[in-house]
């Protein structure tokens, strides 16, 4: 591998992938889909009551996002932009259901019928699949496993990943703080991630199947 190739800036990982997707590399967009699938579904589920529609609307969100990708300029975070598309897609679904005389009442969001209600009012706090006791327990288990894994890390790995994930420093900045080469920072962060991932994989397998 050519290590003399220019290092990409420490800009947002999403922006790197968006630029590649804009240039036609579909795999880059697929990584974004994998990253944001569950968050989009959760957002959509908060607006629709019918869980059967959530996946369709979430898929449609990503389709629309891909089609509009040329309009994304990077002035806002990618997820902020995607979030707006998800909101609009869910709203369209709601409007379509309202127009349909044979609609399922259970598919409509709760709340008033005022068509001019603002964004915030549509985000009514309904109990959704993502907020069930089981989902919250799963999150708690993951958080606990991550904490235990962090405690078990060698101090230099723990320092590196803390500076990256919690303090938000770039690799160069971390290298300055820790007085070590950037390559060492990169390796330590990777090894920390791998160690923590090893702890949470059994939990994810329980949720998502054996592939994890």
């Amino acid at each position: 591998m050519n290590r003399h190739a220019p290092i990409l800036s420490s800009a947002d990982s999403d922006l790197l992938l968006v630029r590649r997707a804009q240039a036609g590399e579909m795999r880059a967009f697929e990584l974004l889909v994998l990253k944001y699938q569950r968050r989009v579904e959760r957002l959509v589920a908060r607006m629709l009551r019918d869980p059967g529609l959530v996946e369709d609307v979430a898929q449609e969100t990503f389709i629309r996002a891909y089609k509009a990708l040329g309009q994304f300029r990077g002035e806002s975070a990618f997820y902020t932009w995607l979030y707006r598309i998800a909101l609009n897609t869910a709203r369209r679904q709601i409007a379509d259901l309202r127009r349909d005389p044979v609609q399922s009442m259970s598919s409509l969001e709760t709340g008033d019928d005022d068509e001019t209600s603002g964004n915030e009012r549509e985000l009514s706090l309904q109990i959704t699949d993502a907020e069930t006791p089981e989902a919250l327990l799963a999150s708690k288990e993951i958080a606990q496993a991550v904490n235990e894994a962090m405690d078990a890390l060698p101090v230099e790995l723990r320092q590196a990943i803390t500076l990256r994930e919690i303090e938000g420093l770039s690799y160069d900045e971390i290298a300055n703080v820790l007085d070590c080469p950037v390559g060492t920072v990169r390796s330590r962060i990777f090894r920390a991630r791998e160690a923590i991932s090893g702890r949470i994989r059994p939990l994810l397998e329980r949720q998502g199947g054996k592939r994890w």
Binding site: R3, M26, E30, V33, K67, Q71, R73, I166, T184, R211
Partner: protein, 176 residues
């Protein structure tokens, strides 16, 4: 070997792509590494998906932003989305301001462009051959019409001018 490679502790070769993926999570991935990751040259797709998802969840946990949606992403969902996109839904062309900013072209852009152009060239060639057999009067494309005019002015051979028109048609279509 540059400083990045010689500084860091030894990583097992089978972990190299994971380290690249970890760097991508942080936006610190080298261009050639990203190329290799996106083209699937260094890792099975499923393994890449698994590690990518795990690293995202680890990041969310460390930043305290777990929100109950930490199920692993569904391969079926991503496949469905990508399948619909592959069925012909290309991204809208970037608007003029965006073109200023960005486009690092995909490394396979030239390959894609010329492959597509090759198909068009075959079609145009077939049309030209059909003309010649029929003794050829012209319902020429604008590019070929220019070639024809040039032939009249310069006295070039029909084959030469057909070739020039072919290149022009190919170039114009690829640019569009």
């Amino acid at each position: 070997m540059n400083s990045l490679q010689k500084d860091k502790p030894m990583t097992a070769p089978e972990d190299d792509w994971r380290e690249s993926l970890s760097a991508l999570v942080d936006g610190e991935c080298q261009t050639d590494e990203l190329d290799a990751l996106l083209r699937g040259q260094v890792s099975p797709r499923q393994a890449q998906d698994t590690s990518w998802a795990c690293y995202q969840i680890v990041s969310a946990a460390l930043r305290g932003s777990l929100d109950g949606s930490e199920q692993p992403p569904s391969a079926a969902f991503a496949s469905a989305v990508m399948g619909r996109l592959a069925a012909g839904q290309r991204p809208a062309a970037a608007t003029a301001p965006d073109r200023q900013q960005q486009r690092s072209p995909a490394v396979n852009d030239p390959v894609w462009r010329w492959r597509w152009a090759g198909g068009l060239a075959a079609v145009v060639a077939a049309v030209l051959l059909g003309w010649q057999w029929q003794g050829g009067a012209a319902t020429a494309t604008p590019e070929l019409a220019r070639s024809d005019a040039r032939q009249g002015a310069e006295g070039g051979s029909p084959a030469h001018q057909a070739g020039a028109g072919l290149v022009n048609a190919t170039y114009e279509s690829a640019r569009r």
